[in-house]
């Protein structure tokens, strides 16, 4: 509520601001542009993550909480980057392999 007042007082006191609004703008914008480029919103990405987890869980046991998935942009190329810490191969997958 009192954000503008508080940030002004903080700037007088020489206190580093709770993140300037321009930094917030830049961060939001970067994310927005990547998602716009592939027409996939962060919420849709989360939905995809849940579906992926369900598929992968049929083969390996992964740490659902620690799984990360995001869009990243390197040299103009947007990539889907994901890390899924594996706990162990599930018995069904092991059975299929044998």
């Amino acid at each position: 509520m009192m954000t503008s007042l508080i940030s002004r007082i903080q700037s007088v006191l020489g206190e580093p601001r709770r993140g300037s609004s321009k930094d917030e703008a830049k961060q939001r914008l970067k994310l927005l542009l990547i998602h716009d480029q592939v027409d996939l919103s962060p919420a849709q990405l989360q939905a995809m993550k849940a579906e992926l987890l369900d598929v992968i869980a049929r083969y390996v046991e992964i740490d659902r909480e620690a799984m990360e998935i995001r869009l990243s942009k390197e040299g103009g190329q947007v990539a889907l980057v994901s890390t899924m810490p594996v706990r162990r191969v599930t018995s069904r997958a092991a059975a299929a392999a044998s």
Binding site: T3, S4, L5, R8, Q44
Partner: protein
């Protein structure tokens, strides 16, 4: 009684999206059930101004094409009870929506128990404008105190009236009391003399709008902001209250007044 209000202007960039976000948020803060519709297909922005861009799953075109249910596409704002956004599609064009679609959409929202539907209209007088006014019960025209914006507002007023919407109301945005005092900006009387429609409110030109856009948090949330107060008065007028429209005057240049301005407590002194 549910009501659908379209926020339009003719000229681009005069503050339709900012006004839509603040009006919708302000009405919800007053306890109403509100849905803000972004009708700017292909150039959506209301999501960003409301700070809801990360939560979009479905959009207006998908609702119209039956890909999802209306309720699924509504994004509930977690900061205020009763506010939802229906986002525009970003990768489609305006021809994917017809006026009949918008009429149906608005009726469906009314049946869901919405009190106010606020439509953020795209700039121009073509398809997007026609879609936006199709389901509306009344119109609010946003203009800035500039010749080109007022000329376009006049054109829009004619078009709105031709669509048999009752008398549109005016919001004068980006008002600069310093320039007005110097005689370098048209004042409220000058503009009302030309446009001859009732005034809904005056919003000063203020840096708080820039900061609130950076943060995705409409200024109407800020109880100390003069701009927020100006929007809150507009909200009360929309709700049918009689509220005086203060002028903004910068003549008061005393130390205390400048200090308060610098603290962001006032943009300029309000004079009734």
């Amino acid at each position: 009684m549910a009501e659908c209000i379209v926020i339009t202007s003719g000229k681009g960039g005069v503050g339709k999206t900012t006004t839509s976000a603040n009006l919708a948020t302000g009405l919800a803060l007053s306890g109403k059930k509100v849905v803000a519709i972004d009708a700017d297909i292909g150039l959506r922005n209301l999501d960003v101004i409301l700070g809801l861009e990360n939560r979009i799953v479905y959009d207006l075109v998908q609702v119209i094409e039956g890909e999802c249910r209306l309720k699924q596409a509504l994004i509930r704002d977690k900061r205020v009870e009763g506010l939802s956004l229906l986002p525009a599609a970003q990768t489609r064009d305006k021809s994917s929506v017809r006026p009949e679609d918008m009429k149906k959409l608005v009726n469906d929202l009314k049946e869901l128990g919405t009190d106010y539907i606020i439509i953020d209209c795209p700039a121009g007088i073509e398809q997007g404008f026609k879609n936006s006014i199709a389901g509306a019960d009344r119109a609010i025209i946003v203009t800035t105190p500039e010749v080109s914006a007022i000329r376009d507002a006049d054109r829009i007023i004619g078009l709105v009236e031709a669509h048999e919407l009752p008398e549109p109301k005016l919001i004068l945005n980006r008002y600069r009391p310093g320039l007005v005092a110097r005689g370098d900006m048209m004042n409220r009387e000058d503009i009302l003399e030309i446009l001859a429609i009732p005034l809904m409110g005056i919003i000063p030109d203020h840096e708080e709008i820039v900061i609130s856009a950076n943060r995705g948090s409409p200024v109407v949330f800020d109880e100390l902001s003069v701009v927020g107060a100006a929007y809150r008065r507009i909200v009360r007028r929309v709700l049918g209250e009689e509220v005086e429209i203060p002028s903004f005057d910068v003549q008061d240049d005393g130390v205390w007044a400048s200090f308060k301005r610098w603290m962001g407590l006032t943009a300029a002194r309000e004079v009734v």
